[in-house]
Symmetry: C2
Subunit: 449 residues, 2 copies
């Protein structure tokens, strides 16, 4: 019996597993992930800003796959691939041999080699990242409150990156501070307590229309976020963020939402060419060049888009003309599903087909009752209608009925009884490591720093 | 304006804060806790066995105290007390001066100086403890499943202590393994996968009637728990638990639910006499001898019971005749409330009153649809009726409406769609530290080891 190994239980990996689980094929499917749960990444920012609990956006992979009897889950960390021996290597020394391989291993936060980012900034890609951000921010709020009355501690949260993650995080952080001050009666210095959103580009939400970007910027400012655009970051230190011109934006917490890159060690075993952000370049059917039995999908792959798609330069092949799709949940789901369909076609000895992306639009929420939803045709919904669209879509896609119910109640409660979010600091909150600001560096491609 | 400082946001501390918050007195109340949330300890075992998520049993202290405008929360760890200067010392160097002090700082797991317990056993007193147990157990299940098919890993979970915590944990662990095997299709060795409950006494649930104890033991055994009574523990090592006679019970995970003790460093600053388990001996009005302005309540205190109460020997004053109440949530709530009332009486220049415990009975659940509830008069409810009583009582006492709703849904879902509990491994799962078994020691007062 043929064995299909799927590396990763994110959107792409689970889409592939579900497709193969639905098919009454004579195959054995093995899903490998270092976590035993799927993370609903679009809502991680809500965990980071204490609107939802970690478990609200996580769902056990075994439960997702329970009905597909020929799909098995292995809890383990992948250390590499042996393509010639057709084997996935696990950190504990075991190997998983395969006939077909679908790599959906995702990405990691990209530091763009900006000095100090790895040591002093917080990321928002995994559930642990989000828990860490939340604990740091809540602990910083508590520290500011516990300070002696005559000593006002300023609390500045800097978010670097004006994409959906950065915009959603900054908007929700401003609301968190509002709750903390007005409802929890934390004694914060009103002038020293700020949320700053930085981006090298001249507008937030570059993947959206100019009107949607302008709306998002307006709403963020109205809610008290200091939006500073066209500014590159030169370095991050314990003191804060140093901008290209030398200006230091002091910060208690720096959240780095500037982009993602594909982990070198995992991708190295796949050989082949690298696209922007270290992504693995694949054929039109999403298979690895010279390895028709290996597919790379989701954030790990440079998923080819239709020629002529309007994409910003980050998704253009360096020095080439091919365009790649952005790293979105929809691209991950559709590419995972496509790879599984290709496996089925091979098993049935049918020829491969090219991946064709069905653009379902993009959306981002800016806070309570404000979101922008941009449909594929370019139509934009803003404000409450956009927010309801955002809410409905995320609930529909949240894996598992139980999580949907709990999240809905959390949200309804959060909405109608506004200040009752789950602001728990669960787990350790080590102090930020003391460190000297390092000398700056010039020439970061992403942030212009 | 007089200031009342309450140390601890558990049952006792919050009961005191709520009483003082309700009173329209001219006092300032400060609640200090190292966590910014209250933990609903009676359900910690459900977190440890993946029936509930950590956030389901935690509630932000600020939210609990929101309506009482003269009650303030300080997030900090208490390092000691200066009774003569009337000041509570915090670890960050700050001091909180008080006119009245209510110490409700709880207890910690007691190792009874049994070798290896601190290094190799897991506790179940704090939310972090419960998360840690859960992650260890789920990771052990995953390890057993991921082992090569020809190498069957045995998985033995040993619970030491036959009180309510031990009984509830052992029962729920047996159910967790049942779910893992039957529904999640983990490949576990059916003969090598066991839950063992150990106790030095001849019966489980010593605080209950003999009939209730016998019922609990019967149900546990019927559900696959190996109940071994009358056995002392000599040592715990990486290999497992060594019994007094020298027998080694091999174990993948050892959960130590044998009792609690009062933290020496916090209690040391209070001086005065120590009762059983290091508890601070207080006057009949719960004040500290020679310090009528200081009250000690909850698990930290040796709360005096009425003379002649039937209590087991663990609650008798060593060498004396005074009896102390067991460390239960009801004792904590009522003693915290009583201390707050005493503060009010002092402020109103009225004489102190003695603490009188209203026994509301005790209950423990043994798993799905089985519990024992023993009323104050001695009436015992078992089975489904006991379980419904247990469920209703715990829901009524769960602080905060939102948590009640979410927990109710989790439970209903868990119950009707049985195998869908939140079995997430969130956070790190370090390997157990490698260690050599240490030489045993004889003479442990609690377990007979």
């Amino acid at each position: 019996m043929d064995r299909v190994v799927i590396v990763g239980g994110g959107f792409a990996g689970l889409a592939a597993a579900r497709r193969l689980g639905d098919d009454p094929l004579e195959v054995e499917v093995v899903v490998v992930d270092q976590h035993n749960f799927h993370t609903f990444q679009p809502l991680l920012y809500q965990v980071a800003t204490a609107g939802l609990d970690p478990a609200d956006v996580a769902y056990p992979i075994r439960t997702v796959l329970r009905r597909a009897r020929h799909v098995r889950f292995v809890h383990g960390r992948v250390s590499g691939f042996d393509l010639s021996a057709r084997s996935v290597l696990l950190e504990d020394g075991l190997g998983l041999s395969y006939d077909y391989l679908i790599v959906a291993s995702g990405a990691t936060a990209a530091t763009f080699d900006v000095p100090g980012v790895a040591d002093h900034a917080l990321f928002l890609y995994t559930l642990d990242d989000a828990r860490w951000v939340r604990n740091q921010v809540l602990a910083a709020l508590e520290r500011a409150d516990a300070a002696a009355p005559d000593e006002t501690l300023s609390l500045v949260i800097v978010v670097v990156g004006g994409g959906p993650t950065g915009v959603e995080t900054a908007g929700a952080m401003a609301e968190l501070i509002d709750i903390a001050t007005r409802h929890d009666r934390l004694r914060l210095d009103p002038t020293g307590t700020r949320v700053v959103l930085l981006d090298a580009k001249e507008r937030v939400l570059p993947g959206f229309s100019a009107a949607a970007s302008a709306y998002a910027g307006r709403i963020l400012r109205a809610r008290g976020v200091e939006v500073r655009l066209g500014l590159g970051v030169e370095a991050v230190s314990a003191a804060g963020v140093t901008l290209t011109g030398g200006e230091l934006v002091t910060a208690s917490v720096v959240i780095w939402a500037a982009g993602v890159t594909v982990d070198g060690t995992v991708a190295a075993g796949l050989m082949g060419r690298r696209g922007p952000g270290g992504r693995v370049v694949v054929e039109r059917d999403l298979s690895l060049p010279d390895h028709p039995e290996v597919f790379v999908v989701g954030d790990a792959a440079a998923v080819p888009g239709p020629d002529g798609t309007a994409l910003d330069e980050g998704h253009l092949e360096p020095g080439g003309t091919r365009q790649f799709l952005p790293q979105l949940a929809q691209v991950a789901i559709q590419s995972g599903d496509h790879a599984a369909r290709q496996v089925v076609r091979r098993l049935e000895s049918r020829p491969p087909t090219s991946f064709a992306y069905r653009d379902k639009g993009v959306m981002a929420t800016i806070g309570r009752r404000s979101a922008v939803a941009q449909l594929a045709g370019g139509t934009v919904f803003c404000g409450t209608i956009g927010w309801i669209a955002w809410l409905a879509l995320h609930l529909v896609y949240l894996i598992g009925f139980r999580n949907r119910m709990v999240v809905l109640i959390n949200w309804a409660w959060h909405y109608f009884r506004w200040p009752s979010g789950p602001r728990l600091i669960i787990g350790d909150v080590p102090a930020r490591p003391p460190a000297e600001p390092r000398p700056g560096r010039i020439g970061c491609p992403e942030c212009g720093g």
